[in-house]
């Protein structure tokens, strides 16, 4: 990373921490009038930073950390979340959601869709979705595959027809939605608010499930680029084991990075290109800053705009036929 880019992304960490914790206190205490914060902790850097910010904002005794694993979760997620919650001194609960997902048919519906493509797919097999394009030098458009692995066998990939892709994603989205349901259960019983943990890249590019991880009362790091979240993580004392962990969806039984599923560029690189694009820098300027070819930056700029267009509806509130001004008057909940 060039010095100029590093400078643009560098945070005044004390100032930013103060700004976020002040905003959280105002939003939770005055706008939402809740007594504390529920945060689901995945053992990743975003939720770890958010838990620390929540504890700093309202006090550790007013924060509930939740781990919501299911049978396909990486065991490391729970261990890292528990360790960090203990260090923060917040209450920490574990709720295994496998039974609820079974009842919803999450696994069965997903597996039925996969079996239409891979009839042998069954007990003990693992799977994940993989997004593949031809890279920056190729004109290939990104398309999705399902990767499957039989017990003791090799991983193989099958190109996904639209119907199966949609069914697999729809079934898998139960995971994020069931988690959110439990977060709100605990928020309701404690009179707490629910904190959402997206960073700017995820929020901007629509990498969330509507009604799942996209649903929250406050989203305190949605304005921060991923590289800035890492700066904040170090500042807040998030353990190196969390900070060095590759960002993962922890959604499929085969390990899956975010870039395999949604972002076709390494996250660190995409983060910088997004920042350059948002900053209004031309592809030529950004290419020099980032040490990339101009054509590659142009392609990533186009991909960013495409994802924004494709996921715009995820950000929309429910659409009404006519305004209800009496409710609109109560809907602004800024940082104060």
């Amino acid at each position: 990373m060039s010095e100029a880019i590093a400078e643009r992304l560098r945070l005044d960490l004390d100032q930013v921490t103060g700004q976020i914790t002040s905003a959280l206190r105002h939003q939770v205490g005055e706008v939402l009038r809740r007594s504390g914060i529920v945060v689901a902790m995945s053992g990743g850097v975003d939720s770890s930073v958010c838990a620390a910010l929540a504890a700093a904002a309202v006090g550790a005794q007013r924060v509930l950390g939740l781990s919501l694993p299911e049978r396909e979760s990486d065991a490391e997620s729970l261990a890292l979340a528990r360790e960090w919650a203990t260090q923060l001194g917040i209450e920490f609960l574990v709720e295994d959601i496998s039974g609820t997902l079974d009842a919803c048919g999450c696994y069965a519906r997903r597996d039925a869709a996969i079996r239409r493509l891979v009839p042998a797919y069954g007990e003990g097999w693992r799977c994940k979705l993989v997004l593949e394009g031809g890279g920056l030098d190729s004109g290939r458009l990104s398309i999705c595959y399902v990767a499957v692995q039989p017990p003791g066998g090799d991983v193989r990939k099958v190109r996904l027809p639209a119907r199966e892709f949609r069914e697999i994603v729809a079934a898998t989205n139960f995971k994020q939605r069931v988690r959110k349901m439990l977060e709100y259960y605990h928020a309701d019983r404690l009179h707490f608010a629910v904190l959402g943990t997206p960073n700017r890249l995820e929020y901007d590019q629509g990498f969330f499930v509507k009604g799942g991880d996209g649903l929250a009362d406050v989203k305190p790091i949605a304005h921060l680029y991923k590289s800035q979240v890492y700066q904040l993580a170090e500042h807040l004392g998030v353990p190196p084991a969390v900070r060095s962990r590759p960002p993962t969806t922890d959604t499929y039984s085969l390990p899956q990075t975010q870039e395999e599923f949604f972002f076709s560029l390494p996250l660190t690189q995409l983060d910088l290109v997004l920042q350059a694009h948002n900053d209004g820098r031309s592809a030529a300027e950004a290419a020099i800053d980032l040490g990339m070819q101009r054509e590659h930056v142009e392609r990533v700029y186009r991909d960013i705009e495409r994802k924004r267009n494709a996921t715009r509806a995820l950000h929309l509130p429910p659409l009404l036929v006519d305004r209800v001004p009496e409710v609109e008057d109560h809907q602004s909940g800024g940082a104060g």
Binding site: E132, C144, R306
Partner: protein, 105 residues
């Protein structure tokens, strides 16, 4: 390339694809201008899953196998591009030339 009478003409490919796109992606937007050279991708007409549906339509309608390396903006980015790509592919491998494309339901 000389036209082969047994394969679909480029204009037929464009017209049938336009009808498919209108029916499946623009069904609530009848006023949307959809010219031959207008971009289909990144303009709100077809998203990334829509690309896969479009490929499935082309494979089915014109009895083609479209491999990953052919799923490009150059080949699928506009109706005209699709017309050129499918026409060339039908006549290059003979599949489209020897088999009448199925009619849309």
């Amino acid at each position: 390339m000389s036209e082969q009478t047994t394969g679909p003409a480029q204009s037929e490919i464009v017209d049938r694809t336009r009808a498919y796109v209108r029916e499946n992606f623009l069904y609530m937007r009848p006023d949307w201008k959809l010219g031959d050279e207008d971009p289909l991708l990144g303009t709100g007409v077809i998203d990334s899953i829509g690309v896969i549906e479009l490929v499935e339509f082309l494979q089915d309608a014109f009895r083609l196998a479209i491999v990953e390396d052919e799923i490009t903006e150059q080949n699928l980015g506009s109706l005209a591009a699709i017309g050129r790509f499918v026409h060339q592919k039908c006549h290059a491998n003979g599949s489209g030339a020897s088999v009448r494309p199925r009619q849309l339901a």
